[in-house]
């Protein structure tokens, strides 16, 4: 009986339990196979909606004359790009401004950050206070920074002109003169980002082995020599990182120059476009002139410029620090 049962049990079990069991195992297999995709899906859905689709659409729209003022959309091929590159002095003016401000802000910004990080890397009194203090500007809003700096650089009642006046320098119309406006905007950018870069450098410096410095010190290397021969080469990947981030940020400079003027015509970046950047020009074309297709072309050329500059920076940075 018991044997019988035993003998009968497997088929019985198999017959009765098979469908449920099989369902469960097949579900488990499906689950194992596909649920990881499901978990990462939200990111890719958002990426597709907010990044991939807009990028693809930008490419498409750049090949058309799309505008809310046109009843129909017609395909114009590369006309927008041809016009942009061969026949648009305002665009090239914006490119010059953007690069000018980029160089004027990034070079001192990274240099200062390095020096600051090096100083903070030593044993200091109230070390945490100083480290916190340089990071403070990052948490302020760009708009607020831009508004306050705009007041400092006001033509008539600005603090900077007042200070210049006390040392006998004539007041400067910061928005009228191209170089003055670049300088003013660069100080805004630097005030905000020096601390950020300094913190990144500081973190990287602290991971450099102390042994190297000790060995160098035993060999009689001065602090300066240690900085150039140990710190800088060791920071190479970090410097490349900050350079690329600054390049992306610098070439997309927008809020600071936009808020440098208020009132009508802010997107023009000064009476003669003295400080109109590429992104401002992009919006000018899109929202004032309603040439959406052309704006798409501007956006794509900006993308290419950033990619190009990042590559150049990367190559340069690699060279500089591998010399030693």
């Amino acid at each position: 009986m018991s044997l019988d049962l035993h003998a009968a049990a497997p088929p019985d079990h198999a017959r009765g339990g098979r469908p449920a069991h099989r369902r469960r195992t097949s579900f488990t297999r499906l689950d194992l196979k596909y649920s990881p995709y499901l978990y990462v899906l939200p990111f890719f859905v958002i990426f597709a909606v907010f990044s991939a689709y807009p990028i693809a659409y930008t490419v498409w729209i750049a090949l058309t004359d799309r505008s809310p003022l046109n009843a129909t959309i017609s395909f114009v091929g590369l006309d927008n790009f041809v016009e942009l590159i061969t026949d648009d002095p305002q665009f090239w003016n914006a490119v010059v401004n953007t690069f000018g401000m980029f160089v004027l802000s990034t070079v001192p910004q990274l240099m200062l950050a390095l020096v600051l990080a090096n100083a903070l890397n030593r044993k200091l009194r109230a070390q945490t206070f100083f480290r916190m203090a340089i990071a403070m500007p990052i948490i302020t809003s760009t708009a607020v920074v831009a508004l306050i700096f705009s007041m400092l650089y006001a033509k008539d009642f600005g603090l900077v002109n007042w200070a210049l006046d006390t040392i006998g320098v004539d007041p400067i119309d910061w928005r009228a003169n191209r170089f003055a406006s670049w300088f003013a905007i660069s100080t805004m950018v630097d005030w905000r980002w020096v601390g950020y870069n300094a913190l990144i450098y500081l973190a990287a410096m602290q991971s450099i082995s102390k042994d190297m410095y000790e060995a160098a010190a035993l060999d009689g290397a001065s602090r300066r020599r240690q900085f150039w021969s140990i710190t800088i080469p060791q920071l190479r990947p970090t410097i490349i990182f900050t350079l690329i981030i600054s390049t992306i940020g610098g070439l997309q400079l927008f809020t600071e120059p936009l808020l440098f003027t208020s009132g009508s015509g802010g997107l023009s970046g000064g009476s003669e476009g003295q400080f109109q950047t590429i992104t401002m020009y992009l919006l000018d074309v899109m929202n004032q002139r309603f040439r959406w297709g052309y704006a798409g072309a501007v956006a794509l050329v900006l993308f290419l410029l950033i990619a190009l500059m990042s590559t150049v920076n990367y190559l340069l940075a690699r060279r500089i620090s591998s010399d030693k």
């Binding site: 689950d31 499901l38 003022l69 006001a154 003669e272």
Partner: protein, 437 residues
């Protein structure tokens, strides 16, 4: 056994979250309001400008008369440029715009091309109201093929606001009749400014070149060609229209005389200029009185006065109310637009923020004609502004008027900053053409 259950639960959660995400993006609209007219209806009204349109009392009244309607206003404090950018995107996207939207004189032409995205108000009986609007205002709100895109709210008309205390200190007359007699023409206005400048080194005579220029251009064009940067077939004629050049030359002459305070209009510095009282006059369409009162504040009450502007008449600004097709309550929205633009509604808005009515009935209403403005030394604003409004000649503005205007204004700012006027005129032609492309 327990492992798969857990897994399954995770999978279910993951699936659910994806589903939520997908639906969250799909149902951004609140669909609780049905299209039926008897249910409760919320109408959104989009306006712009620091002072808004002065409709608060009218909303309350309308809600009391129509218990099923609730009105919500957006946009007060938003500059025209930002407002128009947003509206253009909403109209093109076909969603997001209010049920009733304000269209400004300089931008309504841009929407002619998208007239099929707006309710033709003629379908809601607007044609019967034609007599309620000044003929040229009605014409501006109608597309070339006869669709009624918007009903007129206000017109700019034109006068000159001046600081009587500064005039007095500079030895100029302060009585508004005598002040107007100082400047029958713009050239005499500049001459008066030079007298003022000789007596008062601390203050400037005019706030900015661009405000001066816009007023002069609209006046000259109104009496001349009837258009500015675009002719009536929407061709860019900035280099051919003599009116543009005349207004430009008059403005650079004013700058050369050292009269401009060089403030960028509608900027923080310009606002501060009102508060600190750094300039003595400003070209004043009716809506500007609200701006002055708002910016200069109570401290300057009684210091400002209004006189007739130099030259002859002219208009700058003024708006319309339209109903986008994206509205779910087009019938109710059209009714509200008709109510707000009625003679009574316009009179109410005039009392609130000084926007001059575009309705002949409202312009004849004693509440408008006989009104005085306490802030402006009890100036008879009704008479001053209404006088010119009825026989104004309209100025046609092209589709990219604002972009071209900005380009030209920028060159005038460069002249204020000391650049050569001739070179900047060439730049105005070049940049204006690029902006209008």
């Amino acid at each position: 056994m327990s492992v798969p259950t857990h897994r399954r639960r995770f999978a279910a959660i993951a699936l659910a979250s994806v589903a939520v995400l997908a639906t969250a993006t799909a149902c951004g609209d609140d669909s609780s309001d049905s299209g039926k007219s008897d249910g409760p209806v919320t109408l959104v009204v989009d306006v712009f400008g620091d002072q808004g349109f002065g409709y608060d009392e009218l909303y309350k009244q309308y809600e009391a008369e129509h218990p099923n309607v609730k009105i919500q206003e957006r946009g007060k404090g938003l500059g025209l440029g930002d407002y128009n950018t947003r509206l253009t995107q909403q109209i093109t996207a076909g969603s997001g715009a209010g049920d009733v939207v304000a269209l400004e004189e300089g931008t309504i032409v841009q929407f002619y091309a998208q007239a099929d995205r707006f309710v033709n108000l003629a379908d809601h009986g607007a044609n019967d109201l034609k007599g309620n609007f000044l003929p040229w205002k009605w014409e501006q709100g109608t597309t070339p093929d006869g669709k009624v895109l918007g009903l007129g709210t206000d017109v700019g008309s034109m006068a000159l606001c001046y600081r009587s205390d500064l005039f007095k200190a500079a030895g100029l007359p302060t009585d508004r009749e005598q002040v107007a007699a100082l400047w029958p023409t713009w050239d005499q206005f500049i001459a008066t400014g030079q007298k003022f400048a000789a007596a008062d080194k601390k203050h400037k005579f005019v706030d900015s070149a661009t405000n001066f220029y816009n007023v002069v251009l609209m006046q000259i064009a109104g009496q001349g060609t009837g258009y500015t940067y675009y002719d009536k077939s929407n061709k860019l004629v900035i280099d051919q229209n003599p009116d543009v050049k005349s207004a430009y030359d008059l403005t650079t002459k004013m700058i050369a005389a050292g009269l401009s305070n060089n403030l960028q209009s509608f900027s923080n510095e310009w606002n501060a200029g009102f508060k600190n009282g750094t300039f003595a006059t400003i070209a004043c369409p009716a809506w500007m009185t609200g701006v002055i009162k708002g910016q200069a504040g109570d401290a300057a009450a009684g210091k400002w006065d209004i006189a007739k502007a130099p030259g002859n008449g002219g208009n700058w600004g003024g708006s319309f109310l339209g109903v986008p097709k994206s509205s779910k309550h087009q019938k109710e929205a059209a009714a509200l637009a008709k109510f707000l633009t009625s003679a009574k509604g316009q009179t109410e808005a005039f009392k609130k923020v000084g926007n001059l009515p575009s309705s002949p009935q409202a312009l004849a209403d004693p509440a408008v004609v006989d009104s005085t403005n306490d802030y402006f030394s009890k100036a008879p604003v009704g008479k001053i502004f209404a006088a010119g409004a009825s026989d104004l000649k309209p100025v046609y503005l092209g589709p990219k008027n604002n972009a071209v205007r900005t380009a030209v204004e920028n060159t005038l700012r460069a002249v204020e900053q000391g650049k050569s006027a001739d070179e900047q005129w060439q730049a105005a032609l070049k940049n204006g053409a690029a902006a209008g492309k």
